[in-house]
Symmetry: D2
Subunit: 363 residues, 4 copies
């Protein structure tokens, strides 16, 4: 259970790595949103395997089909069902995993939880599940864009120990997409790509950090006390495969400042109340304050490596496992669009939740 996300703009994803298809149902998308399959496809293309020489060489076109919810080019307010058929499957590559648990994968825990699992490619725990998130995220992005001109940009800021310099401006999509690793700093990107290739050549893997920034967020989004905007963003990020950490604004480093240095003084700029600094990361008391939302997510090194590893089989007998197959030596380049998707889903949901307050008893 819990394959759904959101309260108002609610998505339910389904599908396993080696099943016939994966998909998502969006329940709650507003009516009259212009929407085409091509717009969704554009984001899926940023996620699909085989898109560059630092991702898995698997070939999956990942073509999306809209089965419901759109009529004459516009949403109708009813559920939008999106399906992507699978094609490039080699389930036999996973025969060994039926008997042996892959370290730091979900094989063992799914077995403990359910007593029965689809071992092929991780089944439901595969990152292939995120196709539904990206497809739904594209619809959420478009909704936010039309409704509030909100713009979401994620990018890689660190791969292993190679960190990009601090970004000052808001990177353009073109800057992010200019290289295979999706780091808007070209020089750093080149070094990151080398590090990923090196790890792959060693049969190893690397992780890193993705930063995400959002601008044109109306002040007032976020629901105290439990569904704070940063709480829902944290949940969204930690619900992604391979994530181990989340921080917003000043984050962990902010704990090294004293309050007098950390507080964001209010100022008036151009007739608007703004903050002089943004250690808060665009959220105060769980509610957006109109400044840029800035947060970072830590992704661990890919669990699948092409080196022999110690493990146990399903009877608890110790064994050695040697992964085969075609894997990403680093998940971050393909995860950038997934981070954007989850961010969009959180924001559009909160934007809709605030709607009732907006139409009631205002001055």
């Amino acid at each position: 259970m819990s394959n759904f996300f959101g309260q108002n703009f609610r998505i339910t994803t389904w599908g396993e790595s080696h099943g016939p298809a994966v998909g998502v149902v969006i329940d709650g998308c507003p009516a009259r949103l212009p929407l085409t399959a091509e717009e969704i496809q554009a984001d899926l293309d940023r996620r699909r395997p085989g898109q560059s020489d630092i991702t898995t060489p698997r070939k999956e076109p990942d073509r999306v089909e809209i089965l419901s919810g759109v009529f004459e080019g516009m949403t109708t307010g009813v559920p939008i069902s999106l399906v992507v058929r699978s094609s490039d499957q080699r389930p036999e590559a996973y025969d060994e995993m039926k008997q042996k648990y892959r370290p730091s994968h979900a094989d063992y825990t799914y077995q403990m939880k359910y007593g029965h699992r689809d071992h092929r490619g991780g089944g439901r725990s595969s990152a292939r599940e995120t196709i539904g998130r990206v497809a739904a995220g594209a619809v959420a992005k478009k909704t936010l864009q039309l409704a509030a001109k909100t713009e979401i940009r994620a990018y890689v800021t660190r791969i292993h120990d190679i960190a990009a310099p601090v970004m000052t401006g808001f990177p353009t999509l073109a800057e992010v997409e200019a290289n295979a690793v999706r780091c808007p700093d070209a020089a750093t990107a080149a070094r990151m790509i080398e590090r990923i290739k090196q790890a792959r050549s060693e049969g190893d893997s690397v992780g890193g950090v993705i930063e995400c920034r959002v601008r044109q967020v109306p002040a007032g989004l976020g629901e105290p006390v439990f569904d704070r905007l940063e709480a829902d963003l944290a949940k969204a990020m930690l619900s992604l495969p391979a994530t181990k950490g989340f921080e917003i604004g000043s984050g962990f480093a902010g704990t090294l400042l004293k309050g007098s240095a950390h507080n964001d003084a209010f100022v008036t700029k151009g007739g608007q109340i703004r903050t002089a600094t943004n250690h808060s990361g665009g959220v105060q008391g769980g509610i957006s304050n109109g400044e840029e939302i800035v947060f970072r997510t830590a992704f661990k090194p890919t669990a699948t490596i092409l080196q022999p590893q110690q493990t146990v089989d399903i009877h608890g007998v110790e064994a050695e496992l040697q992964a085969r197959g075609r894997h990403d030596p680093c998940v971050l380049p393909r995860a950038v669009v997934i981070v954007e998707a989850m961010t969009a889903l959180v924001l559009v949901d909160h934007w809709m939740r605030q709607a009732a307050q907006n139409q009631t008893f205002r001055f």
Copy 2:
């Protein structure tokens, strides 16, 4: 909206800083749990103001009253209503805040969201709201303890730049409670306390990091794909006032390892499948694997400082603000029990969610 938390063991907290009372309703606590007000009070006493010389000197006994749900010393399965009356209120200390927004507080965002706010002491955004969480958390802890012997221990590992050495064993409650800052390493604790006192003497504040560990967690808790255990823990932590980051297991530092070093090899110990290391932090694929759950939460320095600060008033005119009153120069010592409470609430909820699977179609 969203003053509730949990799906099965669901709590709703209510109350403002300077209202007549704060409280919580627990809906879904199993019947036949032995429960007394004293057990709940024990945790509230760890949270209450005035408990040591590094917390606010405000005097609030914070006595809990059970208004429903317990009969003849046992829960009955119906809602448990817990209320704490307020006593030591000085609303006049906040008159200035009616007109001026405090930096890095929620005054401005509440005004933007609702168009009307209780300015006294932050109203609903006050940390006083966490009384309900701690009270409900005590009930959750007891449920877990009786049902699965699950043990939860939070403690301070860093204040400002003073970090405790890595904990090897599982600290006892007595070790955590042995000093005012709640760091189980006595020598570090003494230095932390000095740092907090120093910050207070400067009219300033400090933040830091709380670590939480849980043992005796049954394998199989956590619901893929969105309600992963770490996702719900992340949300729980980021829903707390003053938090800016969350990491589980290896966390952000884990991104500096390669996959070959990061993966947790499976081994057999004492007839049980275990992992040789625990970079995963007790969760794989969103589901507990039976190892210790370990995570950390970053708390920013307290926003209220006793120095003049630049801000604007409600009309956008720049102004200076000088906080008065009695405040914590560091929230972490009192937040330890709150972290435990939220952890317990997440775990008991997932434990109940797994119940249906446990009673169905097992071997």
Copy 3:
């Protein structure tokens, strides 16, 4: 679990018949709603025991206290906690019920479900639980009234076999409140009152039907396909103690018409699209069409009667039970305001759910 109701305007009720208090927390009430305790009290007074000579003679003032969520006479958007202290308790009147199950009460099923129950006056299953609903309903009514001028009127149309003539106009509140049984037809009301008194004199009880009508409902409320307006109204009514049936518009009798007679022809009146008849009861396809909403709810005769009854004790041994105490020979007069409350809660929730659609992509 499930002591909460609503998605946006969400209430959680708590409290047992003979506990120290009962109450409700409203989460999601819009900010800036003017609200006083007196407004809530007015509806509680219509529900309280001892209000007339055909209700239980128990004396409970049922005074409501607002513990949170209202500041300077206006809601602030945070939870509204309402509490009513209990006073006139005679738990010893229920000692026999600790050992014997009362027929057609919830004693036996609570015992089966929870394995432990508060036997005093039915504990949580007591109609005293509805105090929280009425208090929250008063807030919902006010919200609807200010937001959309929506008006809700419930009244008794049948007691036992004494039925009021079909109402043509929309009864005023004064007409409903003009007599103790709350039937706006005075002549019928007199006969109903006699029937209730007669049942009471026999130690027996009677049931009947309450009709509810709502006008000024904006077209467009109700969420296909599962949260249709009539589905949520049906759930709301069947969640009330002692209810056995619900029908909307033509209801069960409508099944005796053919389609050609049952269909509501569309016409244009005063420039607005209306229907010539209203067999639909104001709802088509689960969505309000702007016509009056009309529905009826069946209440069974009160289960507590003052005659000896056959039953079993908690060990399954057959026994005779003789109820004592002070009971309503007919619940309908006091249930009228409860029906209104639940109706208001359903409508305000759907009105808020429609808000996001209303602010998006309109012409």
Copy 4:
């Protein structure tokens, strides 16, 4: 929004009448349930058009495909995605409906709610949406059957004014399926069929009542106070197209009894606590008591009739509408399996909700 149903065994349906497909995602089905497409198909065949000479002559095979959640013949605990492709579509039959609102259909209300609608065959408001419910209901039925031997039987008890005699025993599936109208009393069934044919020959339609009975329901299902079993059943039934009423146990007629006659005396039969009568309909205080659950649902006459009708066009101009196409003159025969499906969905959900209580603190 709200195209999902259930808390634990949660379904989301999607698809429009004339879209490429309809389907359902089941989130929360327990793992290790043996499941085949054929089992689901069996119930879809009871719902599909063209199955007899009293239903619409449209030919749709309605073949179900399982796209996820089942591996090696058993569910895995992850979402089950079921899809039915559409084939026999004649959207041009609905061209007139683009401009004119059909009386007592959802055309007008969808337009008011969303400002944009798929007019072809009612779009989302079409009864074709119930395919997903029936498919999911088949899975729910199987779960209940394996878990608790629970048996659900719905059948037609009245068509127009032709009522079957009171059923004494629990009808077998064969008895229900023995005739086209699905009334287990053969003589009455023949008269019902005649009435339906007569209505069709007049270009008219008829409604009626479906009764549903459930046996082998464990005592203890149902969640006070809002998610009472009868409340969720009422909502489930009123969420079906064309329903106008619901009653459980004695229902509306029970209001004509006095309490002394209506109360169900407890007795001991075969060592078990039972009730001598069953006016309660198997539910007391919102919780199942182990007796048969018995309820009835009223279905209005089909809104689509083949006679000219008065209506307005989308500009409010009065017009005449003459339906064409192939329609059911009476929905009840095909609705029987839909009632069973919704009943199963309610029960399996409550059975899972009770699981946590069952595994906790029992004697």
